[in-house]
Amino acid sequence: MIYFLKKFSLILLTFILVFTLLSGVVLAQEKVIKIGTLFPLTGSCALAGSRCKAAVETAVEVINNAHPECDVPLAAQEGILGGYKIVLVHADHQGKPDIAKTEAERLFNQEKVYAIVGCYNSACTNPASFVAERQGKIFMCGCSSSAALTERGLKYFFRMAPTDKTESIEFCDVMEWMNEVKGTNLHTIGIIYENTEFGKHAADEGKLAAAEAGFEVIADVPFSPGATNMNSEVQTLKAKNPDVVFGACLGGDYTLWVRTMKQMDWLPKMCLNYCTGYQDPVIAQQLGDDGNYFMGGTGYSPEFADLMPAVAAVENIYKTKIGPSVPFDSDSIQEAVATFILAQAIEKAGTLDYDKVSETLYANEWDSPLSMGGKVAFVPGGQNAKAMSMMTQLQGGEYKRVYPPELATHDIIFPMIPWNQR
């Protein structure tokens, strides 16, 4: 055994050495634009990270090769700028801001990437985009939702997704609309969120929006992510019994939360979720009936096919990269959008000059069939002013569009059906 270990370690070390040497050798290839991706590929957000990475790969696949079946910009031609191909360099920030910064520096300085797409976690996007800004290089952010990111006044930072702020306001709109149109009497709000950068931001924006709209937040329940149980959290909510719950729980915590509510036999009248576990189609599928009647902001779902007809063809390519049963979700599709918009801007600017590309990005309104609403346009600070999300409700395991009324296909089922009547 020991002998085996000895030998194995030797081989391993040789491998490391060889790889280190090789990594320095840049394969000489003309007409290449390198773009870095920076996502949490390990750690607790690895699931979302790997999907985002696949989404960027999908976009690059469409841009680099002729895909006439896809009705999106740049799909028909091969490459951009008259034959330039995009090459991706992937990096993993493990959900840690310090590693995100390091990797961003490495991507720019060593890998010589032209721009970075990333980083999913807002806490990581922040330092990484500072690196880009300092070097005068472009940082495309798909789905980090902290509103603060685009309030920093950066010049080379662009974000596609709607922010927590937009979503919070939309949540309150839904409540007001319900009160007006349906005569429901929704007044009190409980917020449950993971106590991290993401959850805290979302909750803060939620409280602001609620105060503005005149609702009362009666339960403020942060919890530690990765908890072994959420009994006390749900008990607290149950004791306060708010009409509406705003939820910001990612992945495993989301399922734990839903199932704990089931066990505690409690539900609010309405439950609105930020871009979280709720949006994950795989989780929705796994929760099955338990996941139904929850609501949330959704940027994309396969049920939106009639709104966004161009997605399906791209989604087929995406599925070859991530798995046959995984459609785009609201987060990953934004990363694909970010990649497309960057490529479109380079193509339009006709140059790789950062200032020109940045100006072009600001100056135009971009066609983006993968975005809800089909348009992308940036306001100073880099926020996509056309960013939209729709309120959906899970009904029968599918994301049904329920708000705004002009785009809705289904009625909101209100109040949520109690557990024992399902």
Binding site: I16, K53, A91, K101, E105, F130, E197
Partner: protein
């Protein structure tokens, strides 16, 4: 003979310092900022692990709580810059003093505990601090502190485009901390630390106030750790509780030291020289694959080293020298015989 040894060791030390000063002038290093990054991390983690080594290695009190002191130092600098708009220096000093105070306060009762009980108590302390900082509004809770764009230079200890000043900053940290430990090791305090590690009862019977020794070791260790934390935050321009004050962070210090050889002067440096490049380069090579390959390998190597050489790399070095010495002795004996 002793004197001669001492001089020789001093010489090695000065040569090492000069070499480290000259490294950034190597063209390959000067051109490659990632190499610089790795070098900075090596120096930082070597220093931090050396700070841990004072209490964990020399004094034998295995604390997994050092990320608390690291974190307090980091928050000291971060708060000065972000909250008060000052240069980080006053925050660093204050943070270090605060870390020392906290170290004394929490470790005094903990020193009643022995072995694994002490280790687990320090786990609990890290978790408590982590969660308290997560909700403490004044330090921005879970949101963390993000550095604003301020003027670069030594006054703010901040650079964006170059890493060379950071390298020298880390080097100063390294020289100070290693210098302190080098001094301690050869003097009374160092011997007392080791006596307490080996056998507390004997130490007491020999007139050593073991509680005092442990407390002062902890205080010194925490004080130095806080400086490392402050450097870390100045380097990353962001601080949040998970980043500086969690078990994983503590674990790295312990790993580096044990891997290199606990209770030895150059153990932490050796450990950092192996572990940090391994961590960084495996991530660069395989991290992008997104399959955790780098971390599997990393875990495997930790197991391998612990299984093969539980005393760390310094144990290996010692073994090698002992082997050479033994050979000398044997050959000398055989000379006599034949």
């Amino acid at each position: 003979m002793m004197k001669g040894n001492k001089k020789k060791q001093d010489l090695y030390w000065y040569v090492l310092i000069v070499l480290l000063i000259l490294i950034p002038f190597i063209p390959q290093v000067a051109a490659n900022s990632f190499t610089q990054h790795v070098l900075i991390l090596i120096l930082l983690y070597a220093s931090m692990s050396q700070a841990w080594n004072i209490i964990g290695g020399y004094c034998g009190q295995v604390s997994f709580g050092h990320s608390v002191f690291f974190g307090i130092g980091a928050y000291g600098a971060g708060m000065a810059v972000v909250r008060f708009g000052l240069p980080p220096w006053p925050g660093i000093i204050l943070g270090a003093l605060l870390a020392t105070a906290v170290a004394i306060l929490i470790s005094y009762p903990c020193f009643k505990l022995k072995g694994h009980y002490f280790a687990i108590a320090t786990f609990a302390i890290v978790e408590i601090f982590n969660r308290l900082f997560m909700v403490w509004y004044w330090v921005n809770g879970a949101l963390g502190l993000d550095y604003p764009l301020v003027e670069v230079g030594w006054r703010n200890f901040m650079w964006y485009t170059t890493k060379i000043p950071y390298y020298y900053g880390a080097l100063v940290l390294f020289i100070i901390i290693f210098g302190i430990v080098r001094f301690i090791e050869k003097n009374r305090f160092g011997y007392y630390l080791r006596a307490v590690r080996e056998d507390q009862e004997t130490a007491e019977a020999t007139g050593i106030n073991s509680t005092m020794v442990k407390l002062s070791a902890m205080a010194l260790s925490a004080f130095l750790a806080a400086f490392c934390g402050a450097f870390f935050v100045q380097y990353n321009l962001r601080v949040d509780p998970t980043m500086v004050m969690s078990l994983q962070v503590s674990m790295v210090f312990v790993l580096v030291t044990i891997l290199g050889g606990a209770g030895t002067l150059f153990g932490p440096l050796l450990g950092a020289m192996i572990l940090i490049p391994l961590q960084e380069y495996t991530r660069v090579l395989w991290g992008g694959l997104g399959r955790g390959t780098d971390l599997i390998l990393f875990g495997f190597l930790i197991i391998l080293i612990m299984v093969r050489q539980p005393k760390g790399i310094m144990g290996l070095v010692d073994e090698y020298f002992n082997y050479k010495k033994m050979r000398k002795v044997i050959s000398a004996e055989s000379d006599i015989k034949y």
